[in-house]
Assembly symmetry: D2
Homo-oligomer: 330 residues x 4
């Protein structure tokens, strides 16, 4: 089955992925990791919740930690362009019987919570409370000095159909994709975006839907290395899962970490622009070892198998059975 | 006079600044600078013209060097979203008697050349010939390893009116701006964008219209430093005009160079995203020394006075007389 | 058994480790790796031999590749302070019946070749032919931009005795060491130096004597990353064995590679000074996972097992049986 | 007059430059600069004095700040190899009537204070109190993350004679030097070392003796850039005097700062090894603009004119009148 054409007139205009909400067991421990180690900024906190943002963010949060359902992902938030887009999004999900809630959570305006056709909890809103930007507060930079949320990556059990929905219906555009080398190739992963870089939402074949990782943008390679050094001496040496290295796909420099509840976080830097409408998606073979890591090292098995379940949805086995290369014995 | 509101429904949809065309005296000498020193890629060459692109570019060119009118800027190219946008752009300029040409230059499809209301030659098109991307050709990276064109900066004699046109009419959005501290503040400079980072087109008060500089995107600080080292031992030590340093405005790390014909080039890296419609422009006082350089060093006088005239237009004195800080004795 | 005190009046004054000589199967292929990929400088070449140096070297070579005994190490060269020291070195080995040759190889003056008490071929000389330094030839820097030889690391079967000889007799000083946590701790590895940084010669417990790796100095982390990118697209993606990462021991940033004949090469940067006579050696437990990699990742099994045999000597099983941590399943 | 040959058997064995003692007006303000901005470590403090060290230092201090004679340099400390060397140093200066004191200051053992033949206060000792090393305390790295003292640079009014003393008598070796292009060239500056890199003590022609600058070693270019960013937003934007840039001499990447009392500090990284006895000094012409800055920018006039007087000695006019290139108008 081919890549779908992105819908040029989607029912509502998604600007970008905007925040992720995760369940954690201990807010202080999570703060030690995300604020102390990764250098994120604490915007607000109450007994149950911690709202974090990146150093360049003027919006209230890009990561919300809730003390409930530790290890689960509670939802992925997308920003739409306008109040009218939000109204249309509400109608879109209501028609499909997939609207879960319509309210005004802390730090953001009217927000609708829905399930996508595969069960993933997704929320939409068009503005957040504006807060002070810390971009030039260099005296408080530390650890990874995370600048902003870049993307999320989720396991999809029905990869082709999930791609068809996000691209063919919601207008996400594909920058790169992996398929099998069969005579009838099967899609194995896609990197889809709305904002004009490599991705807002990537889909990976696997037991899903589950969150694969949260991709946080850092300024460059040296911030990744600094994060490793700081985490290593702050009690988080065990959090490094894969890398640092260079992706073949996206060309980004990366490091994968596991947070104290097992959520996977990627530090990510250095992809490219995909603004031009004639940008044609880049194809990778599932069997190309440089797809995962340009430098040749395969990813460990955990990286392919583990992920955060979404609250309230039972993950399903993937329809595609092809297997990627895995680090020997991992 | 205040900042204008960006026109939410501009007559045609400008995606981004896309290429610059400059007059040079010696193609080989210019190639030594841009290809040998800055690491750009030569796409094509004939007796009169050299077409260059960045390492991540899949489009034919982002810089065109012509052996004529050395030291002049021959025009600034913008990419529009679709053929329909291009048709509307043609109509827009024809109505105003400002359409100069309608043709198909090498490497790009139908292109219209016009003058903006202030005399600046601007061209519009919606596609370029696709060529191979060199993003992962790391074995041929050298010098500054320029990735792509980021922005252009021009002197405007009628700063407020030029801003009003690009923002109020063509829908550019302002990320940052400088104004005087008068009781009735005057706009002194603006950074306007369409693509969602700090700028596509910046306007600086001065004898204009003239090209102030071409902003080329590099991966990070180390590529700027490497460019300095390579230029210094390749006969281009004299080309460094200002920096390296950190801008207050845009927060980018920068270096200003003068090419063999005196055109100013900025190596630029590390700004931020401005996709959200509620992003409010950041104000700077003309008298704030950290505006130009966060680290405190003022720019040399040449940086405020010199620029490339546009072909066929007589620059005019600026309407605003306020003076910025200048390095002592420079 | 404790660390030995360094002999304050060694029989001859070793300045530093100075070059390594290795057997390779294909000079062109080796040149593609060391010159093309790692950025070393070719000083001279004949049908059988390639002499290489680093970018800062003014001496003729720090790495000699011979088309014979591919995969073997042919010897390790040390520089002594003066002609008198060289004379005393000759006497030292002659008395022990360990002097193999006394001649004048290409690019260096009088040179004596000997076997150390454990069979390792070692050579000594006090000067090399001076050649042009390429330290500021930035326009030809590429790949890892190797600056110089930093150290060698060898497997020693008789770790304690080998340490006793180099330290107690030849005056090497220990910067760091690893020992077992037994009630009577056994030395497992030592880092010994003459030149005032972390090491000239490191000893690792294992089947020995064999060469563990050649340590080449690079300017910083970004040159290591650049080397990975360049090797990955030059046909050497398979050459990465371990890293990049940060050592606990030495604090250096590292990458281990295997050259086309399997010789292990470390790119190494960022250790510290050990000039002060009261610098006391730093102890590490064999069981401390941050010893190998501060960031926590264990080394692969190959890294502990494989090495280059020395020409003409049969490696022996190690006397110490303790086992370090190894990456699962590697 | 030619360069002197280094005395192969100096009266006492100087290991390296070891600490600098300066007068400041406000210990808290100096701590904000050196600890807060440059990332040095506070070892001890009393009402009058602050003892600082670098992150890799195991010795008590490399910089001592005293609340007296603000803006003056109180002395330069050298470490000698042994108690015997210290005894011989005492005798050397006593014979010349130049021994000022013999005591045991805080944090170091027996110390002799003397005047060199040109009036500069110099102290010698063979050990300091050992303190904990912070080399792997990455969670407290900030600002410039200064690792250690690298060198000092002083103005010498009698350049040739000062060189003759330190080289011909005390055994310093010259790595690089600047001389005039006259038919009888005059020495204008020399970089002298004992420890095997580019310098411990550099001499610059000028009103002297005065301290020109204290050279602090940082890990790499990115720490210099980080220091600029941090100083800029910590109230020290005005402290940047020159750079960042690359020296022709030494090849190091540098930044010159002025501390709150006007003492000049250089952040310095990336020179090369000079251990080999046959290393021949590198000559630079005073008129070569790339001598100062490989990238071509001349130094500002203040950099050539200003310095910290030494306590108790009246600076004299330099014997050599040649003038270096200076930034226009600075």
């Amino acid at each position: 089955m081919p890549l779908a054409e992105p819908n040029p007139t989607p029912p509502f205009d998604v600007l970008r992925v905007s925040h992720v909400e995760i369940g954690v067991s201990d807010l202080d421990r999570s703060a030690a990791f995300y604020v102390g180690g990764l250098g994120m900024v604490e915007t607000a906190r109450d007994d149950e919740t911690l709202w974090l943002r990146g150093l360049e963010d003027r919006s209230h949060h890009c990561l919300v930690l809730r003390r409930s359902e530790a290890g689960s992902c509670l939802g992925i938030g997308f920003r739409v362009r306008s109040a009218e887009d939000l109204e249309r999004a509400a109608a879109h999900f209501e028609e499909r019987g997939a609207l879960l809630a319509d309210g005004e959570p802390r730090g953001q305006g009217r927000t609708i919570l829905a399930r996508d056709p595969f069960g993933m909890p997704v929320s939409f809103y068009h503005r957040q409370e504006q807060v002070s930007r810390r971009l030039q507060s260099y005296d408080s930079y530390h650890g990874a000095s995370v600048q902003r949320l870049d993307h999320v990556n989720v396991y999809a059990a029905e990869l082709q159909a999930t791609h068809d929905y996000y691209t063919g219906e919601l207008g996400f555009r594909v920058s790169e994709y992996t398929e099998t080398d069969d005579s009838e190739p099967q899609l194995w992963a896609i990197w889809g975006h709305r904002k004009g870089n490599v991705h807002d939402l990537a889909l990976t074949n696997g037991v899903g839907p589950r969150l694969h990782h949260i991709g946080l943008w850092v300024r460059g390679e040296m911030d990744v290395i600094n994060a490793c050094d700081v985490l290593a001496v702050s009690g988080f040496a065990g959090s490094l899962e894969r890398g640092p290295g260079r992706h073949g796909i996206s060309n980004a420099f990366f490091l994968y970490l596991r947070d104290p509840d097992g959520h996977r976080v990627e530090l990510f830097t250095g992809d490219y622009r995909t603004l031009d409408p004639d940008f044609s998606p880049i194809r990778w073979s599932l069997d190309d070892p440089q797809r995962q890591t340009l430098w040749g090292q395969p990813a460990p098995r955990t990286w392919f198998d583990e992920g955060s379940p979404f609250s309230g949805v039972q993950p399903r086995k993937p329809l595609v059975n092809a297997k990627p290369l895995v680090a020997q014995g991992s």
